[in-house]
């Protein structure tokens, strides 16, 4: 599945170069919330995203897509914890890799060519996630495809007509599926963007 996502992402970015569009690359720090926080409580420092948006007739509105990779890990250490039927004691590490592909809608609150442009963005799509627990010599794995949605509230700072940087607060949610724990996290995203015509 993750290979399919990569192919789609590559085609998306190729398409982005053929028309008036915006390409972006961002880095994200993420903070787990909800049930996911029980699985991984540590802050994630690994989150990379690529996106492209095509401007509509109303230049403040754009549509596009984004491919994102997140990695979360939490080395719980040696401990004793209950399972469905028994009790386990051992050195435990919880971690997950998330490969997410979403369709985007973005609304810029100002003309996108102004120096400072606040915006809101919503993404809906799917993700392949691989949640694992290592304990002793064993790996407990739950993986599969699930629904994914996210929302950003950010500000873009345009250096000139064609270059900019942006910062955004973001929230991601992936409901429980295929034995995977419901995944949700806040994030702070920092990125660069460029325009093509």
């Amino acid at each position: 599945m993750k290979y399919l996502l990569t192919i789609i992402a590559a085609l998306t970015f190729y398409t982005a170069l053929q028309a008036q569009q915006t390409a972006e690359f961002s880095y994200q720090v993420s903070f787990p919330t909800g049930d996911f926080k029980d699985f991984v409580s540590k802050t994630s420092w690994v989150g990379f995203s690529g996106a492209y948006r095509h401007r509509l007739k109303n230049p403040q509105l754009s549509l596009g897509g984004a491919f994102t990779w997140f990695y979360f890990q939490d080395k719980k250490g040696v401990g004793t914890f209950p399972t469905a039927e028994g009790t386990v004691h051992g050195n435990r590490s919880n971690y997950t890799n998330i490969y997410q592909l979403v369709a985007l809608v973005q609304y810029d609150f100002k003309n996108p060519k102004e120096r400072v442009v606040p915006y809101v963005r919503v993404g809906v799509g799917g993700a392949y996630q691989d949640q694992r627990t290592d304990i002793g010599l064993y790996i407990v794995q739950s993986d599969g495809v699930q629904f994914a949605a996210n929302a950003d509230l950010g500000v873009r700072f345009n250096k000139d007509e064609n270059h900019g940087i942006f910062i955004a607060a973001t929230y991601n949610t992936l409901p429980a599926a295929n034995g995977m724990i419901a995944t949700s996290f806040f994030g702070v995203k920092l990125g660069i963007s460029g325009w093509g015509h």
């Binding site: 993750k2 290979y3 990569t6 992402a9 590559a10 970015f13 190729y14 982005a16 170069l17 569009q21 915006t22 390409a23 972006e24 690359f25 690994v46 990379f48 690529g50 492209y52 491919f67 990779w69 990695y71 890990q73 080395k75 040696v78 004793t80 469905a84 039927e85 028994g86 009790t87 386990v88 004691h89 051992g90 050195n91 590490s93 971690y95 890799n97 490969y99 691989d130 290592d134 304990i135 002793g136 010599l137 064993y138 064609n162 270059h163 660069i192 963007s193 460029g194 325009w195 093509g196 015509h197």
Partner: protein, 218 residues
Amino acid sequence: MRIKKAYPKAIAAVLILSSTFMLSGCYPSAPDYISDYDLVYTQQDKTYDFSKVTTYMLPDSVEHIVNPGDKPDHTYDPVILSELEKQLDALGWERLDESGGEPSDVVVLPSVTHQKQGVCQAYCWWCYWGWWPGWGYYPPAWDPSWGWWYPSDVVCATYNTGTLMVNMTNPKAPKDKQLPVVWIGVLNGLLEGGTANISSRIQTNIDQMFKQSPYLKQ
């Protein structure tokens, strides 16, 4: 104008190249110590009343499950047996001798596997413990067609490394030609390191089996 196109292209190139790296994913670094790979699992039959247990039997040997032609390594048998006796005595239970003429409430049977092998349902109990003379106290007469009966969802898997499996059975309540296993303790880990180190880890982890099973002492 050229820079306008070059910039998105550069971003796209970085993304496509970095996606190859992304796909390999990240994983936690390996543990620092061999003991970090040790795993202790216990499970009880929740319908069994351990408060009524006052006596146990423990054989003088550990059963080794090895592939045909392989020689079992009995180096750690004394450590396993002495630590199990210590922990069972600490529960306040009395150890009975199989030649003493009196059946015990439970029988504790330790088995060790050294390599990849399925345990639990596929386990031929008669092959490993059916010979034990202590069974003579418990009616009816058992034969090799009997098997173990485990609580539901007991962890059964193949073990690639050293695994000690301690079965506590209730021989007074056979059911459908199966012996109820009322408690299991499983220790799994790497058989690496010196003898003293492995012995110490065995003792520590057998101790852990009983620590995380407080319901045994009532």
